[in-house]
């Protein structure tokens, strides 16, 4: 067999063993009835547990490849991630990038880990569970206005994440798209490596801004996969085609900021086309959390992910 022929058959073999799947969003909107209990400072645990089980059942029955508890008790990914740590306070109200959605800026001088995650993981016992935290560069940007790696946060978070022994850790790094340098990415690699719990796959998630022209830079970050917002920047698909992907490529093809329901066939087409261009596993997903969708729409979109995956398969 010629070298070219061998390459073709390896490629076919690679396609055969490659996994094509769909991920749920890392976070879901907090249903108003849960919000009402929290606002009135009443015991929200029973309702929260019931809602989490509903979400997990929905994701599993839709055939998704991972399970997310939706982080329904988190006010947002910044304060939510910080809730896994000790030694910080809430300051002024700040807009989360370009959304009508806000977080309280965390202020701290020295962060310490907590044991809270262990209890939180109890609700999602599945081996393919997906958990998210804000990344050390984006935290630095959002809390202090500086795009650097916050090692204090990375170290404390690494200890707090220890109870996580399997599944996917999605590290959200939207601030990277504000203009990273190769030095920053190299330092971020070290930080993410240190945060990764053993047995867990780390995926770096970037969103909201077009940045596909610098895709190659992100390929150097030491993570198992990249989660890309292909709604804000369809150029990511071209970039993946040209430069290849990581072990895991998550295509954020579903718009998590609009109620318009995508056609499953259209999502399926893009997923198949994306999966043919990279060697690793490829997943269909929303481009961000479902935080700012109405809860019923978030559930509809979850089912739609499953339908699209079925069509693609």
């Amino acid at each position: 067999m010629s070298q070219q022929g061998r390459r073709k058959s390896y490629k076919r073999l690679g396609q055969f063993f490659r996994l094509m799947g769909a991920f749920p969003p890392p976070s879901y909107p907090r249903p108003p009835r849960l919000g009402e209990l929290l606002r009135k400072k009443r015991d929200a645990r029973p309702l929260h547990e019931k809602l989490v089980q509903e979400l997990l059942a929905l994701q599993r029955s839709s055939g998704l490849s991972a399970t997310s508890d939706g982080r329904l008790l988190w006010d947002n990914v910044v304060e939510g991630s910080m809730s896994l740590l000790e030694g910080w306070e809430k300051a002024d109200l700040v807009r989360f990038f370009d959304n009508n959605y806000f977080f309280r800026r965390p202020v701290y001088s020295s962060l310490k880990p907590s044991l809270r995650l262990g209890e939180e993981l109890r609700l999602n016992p599945y081996s393919n569970r997906l958990l998210t935290v804000i990344g050390p560069a984006s935290l630095s940007y959002l809390a202090r206005g500086k795009l650097t790696v916050d090692w204090d946060y990375a170290r404390a978070m690494a200890a707090s994440l220890r109870p996580m022994d399997r599944g996917y850790l999605v590290v959200q790094e939207p601030a990277l798209l504000e203009g990273p340098t190769s030095d920053l990415l190299s330092e971020l690699s070290d930080a993410l490596r240190s945060m990764r719990p053993p047995g867990v796959k780390t995926i770096m998630m970037v969103y909201f801004k077009p940045f596909s022209l610098a895709y190659e830079m992100l390929l150097d970050v030491a993570v198992d996969g990249l989660w890309l917002d292909c709604v804000s920047d369809p150029g990511w698909l071209t970039a993946i085609k040209e430069k290849g992907g990581r072990n895991i490529t998550v295509l954020g093809l579903m718009d998590s900021r609009n109620t318009l329901l995508e056609k499953p066939s259209s999502l399926a087409g893009s997923l198949v086309s994306g999966s043919q261009t990279v060697a690793g596993d490829v997943f269909l997903a929303p481009n961000w959390g479902f935080d700012i969708l109405p809860y019923p729409v978030a559930k509809q979109k979850t089912r739609l992910l499953g339908q699209a995956l079925k069509e693609a398969s």
Binding site: P29, R30, P32, G35, E36, L38, R39, D75, N76, D92, L93, V94, R95, F97, D98, N99, N100, Y101, F102, F103, N258, T259, L260, D291, I292, L293, P294, Y295, P296, V297
Partner: protein
């Protein structure tokens, strides 16, 4: 010397919320309760000494929801969280937007008849309505915002014809997409074109620097901005760009229940005096007061007005001292 005003919203009395949510309340009873609430919040603002109050947006559910429920082409998709446990009912545009009739004119006429003071009427701007709605119909946000600008312009003209002489376009979303500021200002200018009234624009909770200097092309008399939440650092930005319009100076943090001290208010005004003369400074809270308790809102307004009045005396004394000093050979 310093005109005191508000941005717009005021906490709704608990009895009003109870009345409105009670299924047994008739439409007539609801209207009567809303009228009473408007009279009450106008009196509270008068009691605090505010020169230009608003009707507290008592009849408005939420700043975009109120308008999307009165403009053709929108349907509601359900509650969406903004922060903490605060939600708004977010609409999706599913057809071309159309003007269905006056939205604020009756509200203004009632408030006008309920106070002797000058009134400010806030109206949500086209860019913010477009940005805070789901888009299931238009090709893009610009096309939607442009159509909405025509609708808001018509409403503002109706308000001016009814006697409203101080209109504030609320565009908080503008600060979130600096890359769109160029056309967002065009859309705003279309909304205010030919409206015979004093015009302000309110922008909050974003990075103002990213909007400058293009935002200064807005054809309004006043920018009402949030300063307390950002420790007054953006006053430097105004100085840098030689800002000359009137300034709505936010001296009250509306997301913090802690009531400011009079000295803190005065310090904010002092900083603004480094940029603009007193007659161009309108002393406001940072934003609408609706998320505070009624008691805290009233207390904050009282402190705001006291700070403004004390600063007036300080400025007058300073100016007299300067006059006397200049007379000494």
């Amino acid at each position: 010397m310093f005109t005191t005003s508000v941005i717009g919203s005021y906490p709704k009395p608990k009895w009003l919320l109870r009345t409105l949510s009670n299924r047994k309340t008739s439409e007539e009873e609801k209207r009567s309760a809303l009228d009473d609430a408007v009279r009450l919040v106008l009196k509270e603002q008068e009691l605090a000494g505010v020169d230009i109050p608003s009707d507290g947006e008592m009849r408005r559910t939420e700043m975009t929801e109120y308008f999307t429920s009165r403009i053709g082409g929108f349907v509601f998709k359900g509650p969406v969280r903004v922060w903490g446990n605060n939600y708004f009912n977010k609409a999706a545009v599913v057809d071309r937007v159309t003007y269905l009739g006056p939205m604020l004119v009756d509200e203004f006429r009632f408030a006008r008849a309920s106070t002797e003071r000058r009134l400010k009427v806030p109206i949500t701007g086209p860019y913010t309505i477009a940005d805070w709605s789901f888009n299931e119909y238009y090709r893009d946000k610009l096309e939607l915002a442009d159509d909405l600008a025509g609708i808001i312009n018509r409403e503002m003209r109706e308000l001016a014809a009814a006697g409203a002489d101080f209109l504030q376009v609320d565009e908080p979303a503008m600060s979130t997409h600096p890359e769109e500021v160029s056309w967002a200002v065009d859309v705003l200018n279309k909304a205010v074109a030919g409206v015979p009234a004093k015009l302000a624009v309110h922008i909050c909770y974003g990075e103002y620097r990213s909007l400058f200097p293009r935002v200064l092309d807005a054809k309004v008399d006043q920018f009402a901005l949030e300063f307390t939440n950002r420790r007054f650092r953006d006053l430097g930005l105004l100085k840098e760009y030689g800002y000359q319009k009137e300034l709505g100076l936010g001296v009250i943090d509306v997301h913090n229940p802690k009531v400011e001290t009079v000295e803190e208010v005065k310090e904010g005004i002092r900083k603004a005096l480094e940029v603009l003369p007193p007659e161009k400074i309108y002393v406001n809270p940072d934003c609408g007061l609706k998320l505070l308790s009624k008691e805290t809102a009233l207390e904050k307004l009282k402190v705001m007005v006291r700070g403004a009045r004390e600063m007036e005396r300080e400025v007058e004394t300073d100016s007299r001292i300067r006059q006397l000093s200049s007379g000494i050979p």
